[in-house]
Amino acid sequence: MYEDKVMDYFNNPRNVGDIENADGTGRIGDAGCGDIIKIDIKVADRHIVDVKFKAFGCCAAIATSSMATEMAKGKTIKEGLAISNEAVAKALGGLPPQKMHCSNLAADALHEAIKDYQKKQAQ
């Protein structure tokens, strides 16, 4: 059902955890299938220097969150926003069709975190 890469990111997820007083936090929940993903980011001179995630969800939800954080780490804000759901799925070697919707929240959560950071900057 799942590609080996997905199982790897599910089994040993990268960047699990929270960041004390993170610069931005994104939290996305899918009422339908019940997955919930939270991403915290630390930003220094426009670069995402640290990113952590927490996920309540199926393997795909956990694997995509883990992959999204790995893809975002060290990138600029602009590059972070450019990371799409498809890119995350592709980086994992693809996802079963029925998993695309409920597990592609990771990129959305990342974008939420970045928007949260930008809003705080604007104040």
Binding site: V16, D18, G34, I36, K54, C102
Partner: protein
Amino acid sequence: MKRIYLDHNATTSLDPEVLKAMMPYLTGEFGNASSIYECGRMAQKAVVEAREKVARLIGAQSDELFFTSGGTEADNWALKGAAEALRDKGNHIITTVIEHHAVLHTCEYLEEQGFEVTYLPVDEYGLVDPAAVEQAITDQTIIVSVMYANNEIGTIEPVEEIGKIVKEKGILYHIDAVQAVGKIPVDVNAIGVDLLSMSAHKLYGPKGVGALYIRKGVKINNLLHGGAQERNQRAGTENVAGIVGFGKAAELSCDNLIETAERLTRLGDRLAKGITEKMDHVRFNGYPLHRLPGHVNVSIEFVEGEALVMSLDMQGISVSSGSACAAGSADPSHVLLAIGLPHEIAHGSLRMTLGKDSTEADVDEVLTILPRIVEKLRAMSPLYQ
């Protein structure tokens, strides 16, 4: 890696003795049971013997037993056949919210055909209230269909009490006994049931064969039309090897039913006790006093079911979950929602169903592995903070 199979409600392994009984009909004895020459008569004889064994398992007579391609077909035939045959008497059907989809989706189909269906609620243990059945009955009621035991939470329903009520009102009584037959004593006459569905692959028999018990004198329309097989009530060439396997499985279950039930009840209690001791924020689903032997359904907070199932799978343990993803649907199990679990708790449910080959070592292995996995998943869970 030693595999531990704890999902016997999904399906069971084919008992080697059952396979042995089937082999002749997968090799030399391939005759069509309707043919009159020798190998046809051999096949016919084998079907007759198997019919007797399956009938004995539920206290029925041989000619009240009709073979089908499985439990789902038996449920479809019972409900559609009865509804059609009794249409002029009324159009109301009573069932419950926690029935298997084979019953629920068939009832929804019948609603599209102009029937009214009442889906009775269940209490927090998944028990149907016989009084509720009585209140729901109207002069239009033609069928009451209540499952013998629930496949997800293992609760055994008060089928005998319901039987008395339904009998008094002269209404046709169907029971989906797919999860009960072979695991606990089932006696169609003690319950006073008219139609009862069974499935071979739940009691160590082959997939692709089941049966519908139809009490003598009860008339329902056919689901499958065509040849004269099964006394003109279920057309189609008989699946001889499958039927023979079902017969042998029924015989084996009949012989060791009580002691297996007792052993599995003890094993199940051991598993449940171990889980309570080793993990917090857990809650057991289903009726503790009257449940299927070796059936444990537990909701583990802050973690999602599919992730649990996959993690256990990687450690060689096969279980199932009521979570949406596991069920391949958008919603978690309708049964867990029906007994009042909130969505995310329902998502975090785990069903472990032991079988006749399960051992204490299996249970202990699970009790060492499961807590570690839950801990790891909770560490990742935003809900756990």
